[in-house]
Structures are given as structure tokens and as C-alpha cells.
């Protein structure tokens, strides 16, 4: 299969769906002729022009509310936030309006809106450009939350998202954008709510999010040499969350570590741990452990930044500790 970068795969998915559905438009800052800060729309302006690739003023709340209204009126907006940090100004619209209008209207109004942006700690982006924030959207009813790790999943999930009538938050880790991988041509849809077991193992289950999936795989390879067999799971979508796959894995391994560079409190790992201890307590041979980013605003300076985020070494150490429990 041909290989594409993660971002090229996402863009291909978007381009295919825009060709298919003329009601799709993208709104954001510099996503027109410029093609997006992260090349999320490169080449599309030339095909579709300003009404479908709309450069907006710097008013995240405003254009999120606008896109919410556009979705209510029959369009399918894609809000391109560039960095997901900029979405915070729009949370009022998103939580009070976007996520609730289907419910309040008894399903007579649909909310087919895609919210996308780059997440993650990388490259000294500093306190205002390193956010993750997915737990906020898991907490509030109404959203689908998608966090792909591979180029193929990026394409397959954005296509599914662009056919979904619910608000979908589609998050791309900055550390993954240039990663290459095989991507199916044309119609390739990955369903929501199906985790991927990206490595099978017997001794311990590691659930990892986004870029941490790659780190976890590397840690698993290292540990193989030490005789520890690690199963790695990529949930792919956080809402809906495929707990079943995790339960089945823990049933086999008896041990669970969740690796997530985002903050621990009330995060993805907390939710997974809570579900597992509810559903699979008897399977647990050891405490459930979480390995998270440090509970600090993300600092700029490289030695501070790298101290703030899990890496292969720290994951391997956490697995060793867990196996020793």
C-alpha cells in the first residue's frame, strides 16, 4: 500500500468527503489560500474557493457559534482551530449549544459539525500551544471524541466523522503529523468505538493515547528483551470508548497501565481505571496505574518540557514496576 504522512492522510479523507458532499465547508484562520498552519487544507482552496474554505477573523467563539448555526441550517461545517488551545474561548458555545441542540430539539435538528485541532506537548510550543483537553469533551454529553494515531486511522476516522450527524472532536497530535504509514485508497472508513489492539501480549495491558501509543510500542519492544510480554491498546476514539476491548485484555493480563501525556485528574486514565475496577475487579492482579504528563502548564524550555511528558524510558519503568507488584 502507498504510504502517506498522518496529515496527508487526514487531508485526503477531508478532500474525498468534500468532493462527495457539497455542504461541507471549512472555517478557520489561514485555512484558505494558505492551506492551514499545519497544512490541514493545502490545495483545497484552489478546488473549492472561499465559501468552502473560509478564512475567519480571530474570533474562535464567534466562528464556532457561526458553524453551530450553519450545521442547524443544513451545512456540514469543519471548524479548524489550528491549535486546540484556541478552542477554549468557544467552550461556552460548544457545551451549552453545539452539544445540546439535538437533545433540546428532540432530534429534529442535527448537529453535523467537525471540530479539529492539533494537540500535544512537543517542540517547545509552551503554555498556550500544548494543550490536550479531550477529557473535557468526554465529560460533557453530546460529543464524539476521536484521537487517531496512525495515518490510516486518521483518514478512516475523519471520513467517518464527516458522515456523522453528531459533533465530533477530531484531534491530531503535533508529534504525529509527519509520521508516515500505509493508507488505503478511496473509501476507507474506521468506525467509532472500536479500539485497536496494536500489539498482543500476556503480562500487562498498556492503554495509550495518541503519540504515547508509539512510545508504548517502543517500550514494549524493549521489555520483550527482558521477558515481559506487553499488550498495547489504542482506543482510537475516547467517546465512545471501547471498554470491552480493555476488559478482555485485562482479563488475560491481570495488569493495566494507562499512558496519557494529558493531565491525570479526571482524565482518560481515571475513567478507564474506574470502569475496569467496576467491571473487572476480580481480574486485577495488581493496582491499576496511570502515567501522565506532569500537573503543570506546559513549560517551554526543553529540559523542563521533556520532564513534563511520559517517554519510552518512563513507560518501560512504569511497566516494570507494575509487573513487580
Amino acid at each position: 500500500m502507498r504510504e502517506l504522512t498522518f496529515m496527508a492522510a487526514t487531508r485526503e479523507g477531508l478532500a474525498e468527503e468534500m468532493a462527495r458532499d457539497p455542504s461541507i465547508f471549512v472555517m478557520g484562520e489561514g485555512i484558505g489560500a494558505r492551506g492551514g498552519n499545519f497544512n490541514s487544507t493545502t490545495g483545497l482552496y484552489e478546488l473549492y474557493g472561499p465559501w468552502r474554505l473560509r478564512d475567519a477573523p480571530i474570533c474562535e467563539r464567534g466562528f464556532t457559534g457561526l458553524c453551530t448555526g450553519a450545521a442547524m441550517a443544513g451545512a456540514r461545517p469543519v471548524v479548524d482551530f489550528m491549535f486546540i488551545d484556541f478552542e477554549l474561548d468557544a467552550l461556552g458555545e460548544l457545551f451549552n449549544q453545539t452539544s445540546r441542540i439535538q437533545y433540546m430539539s428532540q432530534g429534529r435538528i442535527r448537529m453535523p459539525i467537525l471540530l479539529r485541532g492539533c494537540i500535544g506537548i512537543s517542540g517547545s510550543a509552551g503554555p498556550h500551544h500544548s494543550g490536550n483537553y479531550y477529557p473535557l469533551f468526554m465529560h460533557v454529553p453530546g460529543f464524539r471524541v476521536v484521537v487517531p494515531t496512525t495515518p490510516a486511522d486518521a483518514k478512516g476516522l475523519i471520513k467517518t466523522a464527516l458522515r456523522c450527524d453528531d459533533p465530533v472532536l477530531f484531534l491530531e497530535h503535533k508529534g504525529l503529523l509527519n509520521v508516515r504509514g500505509p493508507v488505503p485508497d478511496g473509501e476507507h472508513l474506521v468506525p467509532f468505538g472500536q479500539a485497536a489492539v496494536v500489539r498482543e501480549g500476556r503480562d500487562v495491558t498498556v492503554v495509550a493515547i495518541a503519540l504515547q501509543v508509539r512510545h508504548a510500542l517502543e517500550a514494549a519492544t524493549r521489555l520483550e528483551q527482558e521477558g515481559v510480554s506487553v499488550e498495547v491498546i489504542d482506543p482510537r476514539t475516547l467517546a465512545p470508548l471501547d471498554t470491552g476491548t480493555i476488559v478482555a485484555s485485562v482479563h488475560k493480563t491481570g495488569r493495566l497501565l494507562i499512558v496519557d501525556e494529558d493531565y491525570a485528574p479526571c482524565g482518560v486514565g481515571a475513567e478507564i481505571a474506574a470502569q475496569i475496577v467496576d467491571r473487572a475487579l476480580d481480574d486485577l492482579d495488581a493496582p491499576i496505574r496511570r502515567l501522565n504528563g506532569a500537573f503543570v502548564p506546559t513549560p517551554y524550555s526543553p529540559p523542563l518540557e521533556s520532564a513534563a511528558v511520559p517517554n519510552v524510558g518512563r513507560i518501560a519503568a512504569a511497566i516494570r514496576d507494575l509487573v513487580a507488584e
Partner: protein, 321 residues
């Protein structure tokens, strides 16, 4: 602009329908039949009616916490409004929303909102969709003076203007946001004067004169529908009831002020005009009154006998599937 007599009578009937429905809601509130908040628009009916008279069913209205009048003017049946405030399954939102969350997309009422200023952005968005999809539809954002100092006003009006979207911004300036006077939160008593800075036309209107509203809205709707862009209309008006039923109504405005505005009642004003111009007789107006009253009574009875929502439907419609 000369407004045909039949239209004038229709405006009258519609305002009266809103007034009588609101009055019924006030009584029902006092009887404990309404469970949450209830913000009536008594005194402000002319704005909703004068604007919505120009809208087609597929034009879209986005409204506020004070939205009963907008809903009724856009064609939501009184029974569906009253039943909603009663929390019944037959309400226009199935009881999910109450007074501040009326939805009837089938007639173009895209929601009243419990959050001030949300209507502005959504209306701009609907207008964006119309332009994108090349539909000759228009959208309307109703909002209060309180919303005019919110960032949504700035961001929404600017985007509508730069992209020349088919939308009307209708500010109902009733001088207060709850108990806070507009004069204390804006150094400029007029909202419409802000329009030129955004590059769109703005106009101050007597919001208690339904014919004035009707005329201004005619032009603005025509402008929008023909692709000539948005308009900001500021309708000076007044609510003669407390901010919300059950709330105190003293300490922030004088009884004289309230009385003066009651004297400028948009319905009484139009009635006098219709009679003086000979457009209608006393008995014709009485006939309308009787018809409207019958509709409201029927609506009330409908609401009263309607079933409660089934708790087993609690989680329906959070997602599309």
C-alpha cells in the same frame, strides 16, 4: 410604504395572540403550573410581529430567553408553547426545554436560548449556510440590549458584514438587562449607531410601533434576500412585567416609567390607529379578541390534558444514533 389593511389586521391579531398567551402564562405561573423560569414579552410584541411578518416558513429565527413572542410570531402554535412551559410531552420541545428552550424547526423557530447572545452567532451561521448552499433564505437574530455588550455581538456582526450574509440583527432594547440599566453598561444609549463601524446599515426604530417595525424589517429582509447583506435594527421597547415571573420588580425602575410605557402599549396603539383610519371597527376588533381568546383557551386546555414525558425517554436524542 403603505401597508394594506389586511396586513395591519393580521399584525394586530398576531400581537394580541402573543399578549393573551403571555397573560395566560402569567396566570398559570401563579398557579404553579410552570416549573422553571418564565420571561414574558408583554409590551414588546410589536418587534416579534413586525419582523416575522416578512419571513417564510423556511426562513430561520434564533431567539432569546424572552422568546415566547418570537416563537408564536414565527408560527409555533400556542398550545405547543403552553404545553412546553407546563413540561408536557406535547410541548414544542417535548418538555425537555421549557420557556427558554423552545424549538420548532418545522416552522423555522431554531430555538430560544437560556444563554444571552447565543442567538446572534447561530443566526449568522444559518445565513452562512444559505449563502453556501445558494438558497434565498434569511435568518434573524433577536437579542436584548444586554447582549449588545457581549463579544458575540461584535464577532457575529463583523462576520456577517464581511461576508455580506443574509441576516437581520434585531436588538430589542428594553432599557434593562434584568435590573441593570443599559445606560450604566454602555456610554452610548443607542446600539444601532455601532453599525457603521462594522460596515453595515443600522437603524433605530420605535419598537412599540408595529408598523414602523414592519416597514424597517421589510427593507432589511429584502436587502438580505437579494444578497445585499445584513442589517442591524434596534427597536426601542419596554417590558412591562418583571424580568421573570415571580421576581421583584422594584428598586431599579420607577412606577411612573412603567406606567408611561404601558400607555404606549403597541396593541392599544395599533387598535386606536385602525379605528381612527377606519381600517377596522370596534366590533371587528372585538371579534378578533374573541377568536384569539378562544385559541388561547383551547391551547391551555390542550396543555392541561397533555401527558407528562415518559422518563424512559430521558436519554433519547443526545446523539443522532
Amino acid at each position: 410604504m403603505s401597508i394594506p389593511g389586511t396586513v395591519q389586521l393580521a399584525l394586530y391579531r398576531q400581537m394580541l395572540l402573543i399578549r393573551r398567551t403571555e397573560e395566560q402564562l402569567v396566570r398559570s405561573y401563579q398557579l404553579g403550573l410552570i416549573h422553571g423560569a418564565c420571561h414574558t414579552c408583554i409590551g414588546q410584541e410589536a418587534v416579534a410581529v413586525g419582523v416575522c411578518a416578512h419571513l417564510r416558513p423556511d426562513d430561520l429565527v434564533f431567539s432569546t430567553h424572552r422568546g415566547h413572542g418570537h416563537a408564536l410570531a414565527k408560527g409555533v402554535p400556542p398550545r405547543a408553547v403552553i404545553a412546553e412551559l407546563f413540561g408536557r410531552a406535547t410541548g414544542c420541545s417535548g418538555g425537555r426545554g421549557g420557556s427558554m428552550h423552545l424549538f420548532a424547526p418545522e416552522v423555522g423557530l431554531m430555538g430560544t436560548s437560556g444563554i444571552v447572545a447565543a442567538s446572534i452567532l447561530q443566526a449568522v451561521g444559518a445565513a452562512y449556510a444559505f449563502s453556501l448552499l445558494k438558497q434565498e433564505r434569511v435568518s434573524v437574530a433577536f437579542f436584548g440590549d444586554g447582549a449588545a455588550n457581549n463579544g458575540a455581538f461584535h464577532e457575529g456582526i463583523n462576520m456577517a458584514s464581511i461576508w455580506q450574509l443574509p441576516v437581520l440583527f434585531v436588538c430589542e432594547n428594553n432599557l434593562y438587562a434584568t435590573e441593570v440599566p443599559f445606560a450604566s453598561v454602555s456610554r452610548n444609549p443607542d446600539v444601532a449607531v455601532r453599525a457603521p463601524a462594522y460596515g453595515l446599515p443600522g437603524q433605530v426604530i420605535d419598537g412599540n410601533d408595529v408598523l414602523a417595525v414592519y416597514e424597517a424589517a421589510a427593507e432589511a429582509v429584502q436587502r438580505a434576500r437579494s444578497g445585499a447583506g445584513p442589517t442591524l435594527l434596534e427597536c426601542k421597547t419596554y417590558r412591562t412585567r418583571p424580568h421573570s415571573e415571580g421576581m421583584r420588580d422594584t428598586g431599579y425602575r420607577s412606577a411612573e416609567e412603567v406606567e408611561a410605557w404601558k400607555a404606549r402599549c403597541p396593541i392599544k396603539g395599533l387598535a386606536a390607529y385602525l379605528l381612527s383610519e377606519g381600517t377596522a371597527t370596534e366590533s371587528e376588533l372585538a371579534q378578533i379578541e374573541a377568536e384569539v381568546q378562544a385559541v388561547v383557551e383551547e391551547a391551555l386546555a390542550f396543555a392541561e390534558r397533555s401527558p407528562w414525558p415518559d422518563p424512559s425517554t430521558l436519554t433519547d436524542h443526545v446523539y443522532s444514533l
